[in-house]
């Protein structure tokens, strides 16, 4: 089992959600996040004083996936998230030891 995490532009969230739903993903977690990558942040001007804002708004999407689905899911997310401009974000996956559905106590793939 893998945890797929995507940190992407907020306005792509709906596209990604729909793409994951059509793939058959049952659930996901979305968190408002902020951060920067290689391009850093942006500059704001107040009465001529320039402020560099490093942290730009992002959303962090987390999905638990079975091992076999992981690569495909990553592709789905990337396809939906990509605009081709800087700041499109990152997707990664990490192994997950176990997952439990709180209500029923089901474990592993059954809990997804």
């Amino acid at each position: 089992m893998k945890l797929i995490t995507a940190v992407v532009k907020p306005h792509r969230l709906d596209e990604i959600k729909e793409a994951l739903q059509s793939f058959g993903v049952q659930g996901l977690t979305v968190t408002e996040a902020s951060g920067y990558g290689r391009q850093r942040g942006h500059t704001e001007v107040y009465r001529g004083a320039e402020y560099t804002v490093d942290l730009v708004p992002k959303v962090r999407i987390e999905v638990l996936a079975e091992d076999d689905d992981t690569e495909q899911l990553i592709e789905v997310i990337i396809k939906a998230a990509r605009t081709g401009k800087i700041g499109d974000g990152k997707v990664w996956s990490v192994p997950v030891d176990t997952a439990v559905r709180v209500r029923t106590g089901e474990r592993g793939p059954d809990a997804l």
Partner: protein
Amino acid sequence: MLPGISTLAAPAPDLSAANTGFMLICSALVMLMTPALAFFYGGMVRVKSTLNMLMMSFISLGIVTVLWVLYGFSVAFGTDIGSVVGWSGEYVGLSGIGLTELWDGYTIPVYVFAVFQLMFAIITPALISGALADRVKFSAWALFVALWATVVYFPVAHWVWGAGGWLFEMGVIDFAGGTAVHVNAGAAALGVLWVIGRRVGFGKDPMRPHSLPLVMLGAGLLWFGWFGFNAGSWLGNDDGVGAVMFVNTQVATAAAMLAWLAYEKIRHGAFTTLGAASGAVAGLVAITPAGGSCSPLGAIAIGAIAGVLCAMAVGLKFRFGYDDSLDVIGVHLVGGVAGSLLVGLFATGGVQSDAKGLFYGGGLEQLGKQAVGVFSVLAYSLVVSALLALVLDRVMGMRVDEETEVSGIDQAEHAETAYDFSGAGGGAAARRGVPAPDAPAASVPHKAAPGTGRSTAQDPAAQDTAVQDTAAQNKKVDA
């Protein structure tokens, strides 16, 4: 209050119901400017000091009003003593004034003139507070407002507008307060800054405005209230001069906003919201002294010049290293000086007084008078304000301590915060803070002594116990 009015007004006027009503409305409009200023400033500070900024303006409504009734009106507009201050016993406590007694050659009651002028006295010290954001003890500020109004504003108002005041007698034109209000407040800000110094982190930490919509709301309301400020300063409108003032106020403000935005677009690449709001205020400041003496075209020129000058001036604090937090000096002092001096160029001689500026064939005489007026008020206000701040700093300390400043002055000085940002679980946390129905109402939590009126729900020890209980229950379920 206006030089030259005695030649224009009828010899023995009767009370005019129209002018009286007009002036009461103007007074109410000017009153609105102080809360508007509070919003204008409040949006420009960081979240953690929003309430303090609002309160520094708002408190002036309380303090100055009471002082004005007690003695302020008498000092500013009483019988002249040596061209420096006034004093009239019947004005003390506004006690000896008849209901229908008219103000000096005008068609409105003394009472109406007194409340109109009161609103000017209120907003002037409030203007200073923008330079001192985030770092001044509220008690010290309140005392400063009372002392400053007494020894700076009331006398200066007498110099500029009081019959017998030395600048008034000299023929300095300050229609609605460019010198007495804006130069005065801006110079005071500079004086106090010299004593209190910069904010912690100035030049290093980002100190971005937390709410530009609030700034726009404040600027819009200031613009609206300013019609009372300026159009009302003719003290009536039966000869149409008030309407000219209204027009000039509108066009100068519009021109200044456009000029500031154009400067900004060229210099920094964007038309900013804060620039539009600031440009409008700069135009309002600049037209204040000049609006009664120039034509609408002159008002456009004055507004545009002030818009660009002020936009340039707000950068000076970074060059010279003084922390004028919200640009009181850059906007009010520079705008006030510009407007007051531009009277010497753009006065047409045909509206408020017969004094003509350089561009209308009057030579340099009026410009010279304006310069004397501006720089004497500037110097007096600068020195006396710095001395007042110095004394207060020695006696009680002007600044909050560094920890308070960094963690936020709202919580420390007012026991409140402007916004509730409690996120996950915030609702539950808030509910825990509500006293149980049978518990006595809790006072300010951090000041309450243990066991005095504190509800169980707010007692940290009790909360800890509750948390432990819940944890114990969870364990049982797991087992």
